[in-house]
Symmetry: C2
């Protein structure tokens, strides 16, 4: 029997909590036999739920709290003032317990990121951690984009660290020689702003498979495994994808209005819904915060049970990756050059 | 009879030239009786085309050249070294001729923008001109986004100028009190990078209807008439919309594969094609370069005849807007405060 490790889940944060979190937990426990869970939230609610799913009771542990950091709270203050919040308790648990490999929350993004740095700390040598969601592409393979909002006003060295972290992480996920691109407004070497021009020159010298500049329209082409950018542009990329998805869905609904009801409702609607779901759950599923000593994952505020489950399974699998040592080593290697 | 003014069209630049340009010209001439055209391109080709459309012959003027600035040419050098290129000739014509109100090209974007500044010049007081496409939204109204790539490494004052130019332009287009937002990664005042934080404070004091920060996902909501950003983030927004459109179309095609052929081919495909076309032609139609003494419009390299026609009609209508005086005055007013 493989050793059983635990993932910690915030059951309070997010618009769809606690239901999506609890249903996602069951889904993940079914899928991943070597994973157990630590659920941080209202013990009464969690216990009542698992009374109905008694077969999983032995695989969960409950840490009680009803204090949540709300979406509009200032991150640093909230972390300081709410030591009994699910986010702070989850971060301290994952830091202190050897049997816990990751922490997942759908709560206040800023508080989760700031808290992760304050409570768990950066991997030695990492100038800034990066928030890294995975997007679908038109092909089978997916693409990691970093950073999407943890870091404003980046310097070239921050982006170099993002690239090295992505390289380590994707190799640990099983990709050989991941192709890493730099987000820019054209593919020519001389195009871009001061940040991308300087970063381009640095990335050329790094021991990674650097694929040069990438335009935002190529994000979903499947030609890249990771795309490096600063948090502002990355956030624009992430959120314009959401906005564009909404625009397409609205237009589709309009286009469907003229359809015979049987075609629209019975044939078309389920397929389109499925498509939207796939795009949404891939894109808005777990975004891992790379560069922290133990992996912390942010899931979308309106996460579905599938998103929760996907994030739990992924987080559990990063437990074997030893990212702290591997990322630390990669950064040491380049500073020794 | 209203006075007839002319728009100049580059018939050489772009992947779909000269056909899309010539068919678009006919379409626009039909739609806009008070507009005539100056066509810059291969006289033999243009004349042969208009021999078949003889009723429009009296409304066009041909300026012959076969020199095109290619997509990969360095802008400043190309403008200097190719005085007989369609872009340089078009820019000089619109600068010199009182009867010409605008110039449109699907050619090298950098050359068109650099050439416009070099040959026509900025409006007094404008620190940087901005490239401004119009996007569709989920509602009837559209949204102007500026800048989408003319300006890297902007300063707050550049973005303030963009906002004032957008305000003047949209009012001239007939919008009352246009709502102008600043692209950012959250709506809270304290969020953002150094550029957006400083710009936010300046825009609050401007005589415009400033709607605060806008997240990229709200671009297509129809809640804003203009969204202000620097050229790097704006380019990411523009191009991720293209990429996302492609992703949706690909997924839709996959979803349609299981359909009975009659439904897919006869009912569904034409509707989806129509939708894609609308989104594409709205979004990738004319992007006006605001801040230049006479309006220059960039159209997409693979522009359709409809895009060409829309851009011609719009450019013709800007002829009555007197943007040089109005934008100059708006900038003078704020520097006098």
């Amino acid at each position: 029997v493989e050793k059983v490790t635990k993932v910690i889940l915030d059951v309070l944060g997010g618009d769809t909590a606690p239901n999506a979190q609890l249903m996602g937990a069951i889904k993940a426990l079914k899928q991943e036999p070597e994973m157990n869970l630590v659920l941080v939230g209202n013990k009464q609610v969690i216990d009542a739920f698992f009374d109905k799913h008694a077969e999983f009771k032995s695989r969960i542990e409950v840490v009680h709290t009803t204090t949540n950091i709300e979406m509009n709270e200032q991150p640093t203050q909230a972390i300081r003032n709410k030591p009994d919040s699910a986010i702070v308790m989850g971060l301290e648990l994952v830091r202190d317990r050897k049997d816990c490999v990751g922490f997942i929350s759908a709560g206040n993004t800023g508080a989760l990121m700031t808290g992760a740095i304050m409570k768990i700390g950066r991997i030695a040598g990492v100038s800034r951690p990066a928030l890294c969601p995975t997007f679908p592409t038109v092909r089978e393979r997916k693409v990691l984009v970093l950073d999407v909002g943890a870091n404003m006003d980046c310097k070239p060295i921050n982006l170099v660290h993002f690239a090295l972290m992505a390289d380590v992480y994707l190799k640990q996920k099983g990709l050989e020689n991941p192709r890493i691109g730099l987000l820019n407004l054209g593919t020519e070497e001389e195009k871009g702003n001061e940040l991308t021009k300087e970063t381009f020159q640095l990335l050329k010298k790094m021991p990674i498979n650097f694929a040069g500049h990438v335009e935002a329209r190529e994000t979903f082409s499947g030609d890249y495994d990771a795309i490096i950018t600063d948090g502002f542009a990355g956030n624009v990329l992430l959120k314009s994808m959401e906005g564009c998805g909404k625009l397409y869905t609205t237009e589709l609904k309009k286009a469907m209005k003229g359809f015979p009801a049987v075609i629209g409702k019975l044939i078309l609607a389920p397929r389109l819904l499925k498509m939207k779901k796939r795009l949404h759950e891939d894109a808005a599923g777990g975004a891992i915060l790379l560069g922290i000593k133990k992996p912390v994952t942010k899931i979308h505020g309106n996460a579905s049970p599938t998103t929760v489950s996907n994030a739990l399974v992924l987080s559990h699998r990063t437990g074997d990756m030893n990212l702290e040592e591997k990322i630390g080593q990669a950064l040491k290697d380049i500073s020794a050059d």
